[in-house]
Amino acid sequence: MSDSLLSRPVDRRALLRTGMLGALGLAAAPALAACGGGSAPGGSSGSGSVSWAAWANPGEGERYKKFAEELSKKINAKVSFQAVVGDYEAKLLSQLAGGAAPDAFYVGDGQMAKFIGAKQVSDLSDYLSGGKSPVKLEEFPEGLYQWCKGADGTGLYGLPVDCNPSVLWFNKDVLSAAGVSSDPAQLFDGGTWNFDAFTDALDKVRGSGKKGLILSNWWFNWAWAVTAFGGTLQDESGKIVFADDPKAQEGLGWLLEQFKSGNITYAGSLPKGQSGDALFLAGQLAFNNVGRWALPTLKSVKFGYDIAPLPSPTGKDIMPAPVATAAIALNAKAKNREKALELIGNYVSKEGQQFRLSGGGNAVASVKGLDGLATEGGVPAHGKLFNEVVAKGYAMPNAFVSKAKTATELPTLVDKLFKNPSTTAASFSEAVSKLVNG
């Protein structure tokens, strides 16, 4: 008992020494934890472990963790997921610069060109064409992965994880109250969903005192006007060419006309989904030009809704439209390259996407053959159109993001052009082409 800790006399020096050590430990703990924060969650330092990072909402995060558990068994490695909360690009950049990035990570369309240029991501072409990959390039719609190629059009540095096509969600009740007798989905089914029908619906909604459609300066919200009339956005070399295309000019002219008439409201640079989504949910907006990500928030609304593709000149076709997507890329300095490739392959494979996306309701598969995901639960009624739009759609043109400065300046330029009432289709095209083509 006399030797026990409690009974031992504590002198001043011992107390000070203990106190100092305790203080040192307490103070150093967070610092040390912070220093190690980049690599610890990845757990990829040892052999047989692999990690990936992505942005994720809480529901997605849980699903990804389950995916990691399942994949761990399948590829016989410890797979871990790092959910990045907050400014994803900044955090990933810090991790890459510090050599602490996970083996694989999501890359947004605005960052891919920079990461390829800086040799931070690896070419996946050989893996995809080899026998080990559970997914082949042919399984992806061609328009979805062009932005993952190098500046010279070679290589493939990322694979789309899922996607979201630009479609028109519409509020049946608002349209009906405005006197629109057939909703856009019915018109599309009947082969009469053209721009006259769209303009007519927008006119009627405006007359009823509600808003027709709100668009932002995000390319997803305006590039369809270039292609919906049959215009060409970019040529095979990736150069933006819509300034010389009469059909593209017709589409842009129609869009600018709708801004001027008040049929379509320009919502500037508000965060995507804030202004249009809020009004749509409040039953004040007839159309909302967003992807499938809107579905989870719409499930509890009391009004009727459905989707239609962007209109076409013939009224029955689905024209090429923007598709928002992100890719998973292989860290060029991956500690476990082989397992990271297996992770990527399984992540975007049919099986992987089925696991990740089913029940989530906020994206569309980026590989062919998973049409059922978009029609899950029968909501919205025309959910199959998501797949059809993806099949003909295009992801962010490389020219928009090939230079980081261009990627940041394009939305600002579009904002200025849409706010200027004297902007014409020609002046818009000229300004955008000048910025992106250099």
């Binding site: 000070l16 100092m20 203080a23 040192l24 307490l26 103070a27 150093a28 610092a31 220093c35 400014d87 690009e89 900044a90 950049l93 890459l96 610069a97 605005g110 920079k114 800086a118 040799k119 931070q120 808003k211 300066n217 995000w218 919502a267 500037g268 640079s269 508000l270 965060p271 995507k272 804030q274 202004s275 809020a278 009004l279 409040a282 004040q284 980081a404 400065k405 990627a407 940041t408 939305p411 600002t412 904002d415 200025k416 706010k419």
Partner: protein, 314 residues
């Protein structure tokens, strides 16, 4: 040996040992102090001084976030001075400061004066005012995003109901910065209110009674007694407010994401854009360095000017 010499020798000899002891003890104390301080010092060096030094180095370098940085001389600074977008952002930042700093200080001071008469309700009011302070800026911005929505905002409905045309707060170029200032004032009010209340409560009743006996009106008491006596609080709040307002970023980022129009951009927003969107860490660091110099200068001027108007109680 003379007596004088003996005495001097003994005087010299006597303190010699204690002085060595004292010096040894001092050295021990210094070491102990350093050991105690070392965790904080380490943190300061790693997380403050180190990054500051690195930012200064980057300000004179070209660096895209990867690989080695190359010496850039003053080209990053030249690039900034020639960039009209940066000039516009600097003007926006100053405009925000001009609106926000006096706005929040005057409002907080007035509410603090009223709160002195609130009696038992003081704590309730104080809680209400402080709630936004402890709410994250992102949550605050999300709430205001709804309040600034021209179509569904209750503010706009109220304005329209009394015949005032409701502005499009976040789209109309002349309203964007004032809108940010309104949000910042709303969120910053509670902190300044608490500080002003503490300042007001520290004023001795005798000063005000003396002024009253001298026949001062309420306004004269406020202007000639109260304000001078809380001038240290005013100085402190003005310095911290100006520094904070020059660094405004979070509201803009939530309101506008990464594609804010020119009319909404501030200096710190530009720094983040240049660094993490355009991968131009050199120019971003140069801009951060310039911002640091400006804040240093403004704070220095405030400190110099305080000798003329700040009264410290004895």
């Amino acid at each position: 040996m003379s007596l004088d010499t003996q005495i001097r020798a003994s005087v010299d000899a006597v303190p010699a040992q204690p002085r060595r002891k004292v010096s040894r003890r001092r050295r021990k104390d210094t070491i102990a102090a350093l050991v105690f301080l070392s965790p904080q010092l380490l943190g300061l060096i790693v997380f403050m001084i180190g990054p500051l030094g690195f930012a200064l180095y980057l300000a004179f370098s070209h660096w895209d976030g990867f690989g080695a940085a190359t010496f850039a001389g003053l080209s990053n600074f030249t690039e900034l001075f020639e960039n009209p977008r940066i000039q516009r952002s600097a003007i926006n930042t100053v405009w925000f400061t001009v609106l926000q700093v006096p706005g929040v200080m005057i409002t907080a001071f007035l509410f603090a004066l009223f709160m002195q008469k609130a009696g038992r309700m003081t704590n309730v009011y104080r809680l209400g005012f402080v709630a936004p302070v402890v709410t994250s800026s992102v949550a605050v911005a999300t709430i205001w995003l709804y309040l600034f929505n021209p179509e569904i905002s209750p503010i706009n409905s109220a304005l329209r109901s009394i015949g005032i045309p409701a502005p499009n707060w976040l789209q109309d170029p002349s309203f964007i910065i004032p809108s940010f200032a309104v949000v910042a004032i709303w969120q910053g009010l509670g902190y300044q209110l608490v500080m002003f209340m503490a300042g007001l409560q520290s004023i001795g009743a005798s000063y005000l009674e003396a002024a009253e006996l001298d026949g001062c009106s309420a306004w004269q008491k406020l202007w000639h007694v109260t304000v001078p006596l809380i001038s240290p609080t005013i100085l402190f709040l003005s310095i911290t407010s100006i520094i904070g307002s020059f660094q405004v970023f979070d509201y803009i980022y939530v309101f506008m994401d990464s594609s804010a129009p020119d009319e909404a951009r501030t200096i710190v927003y530009e720094i983040v854009q240049m660094a993490f969107r355009e991968f131009n860490f050199g120019a971003a660091s140069a801009l951060a360095f310039l911002l640091f110099l400006v804040l240093l200068g403004v704070t220095g001027l405030q400190m110099a000017a305080q000798k003329r108007w700040v009264h410290y109680a004895e």
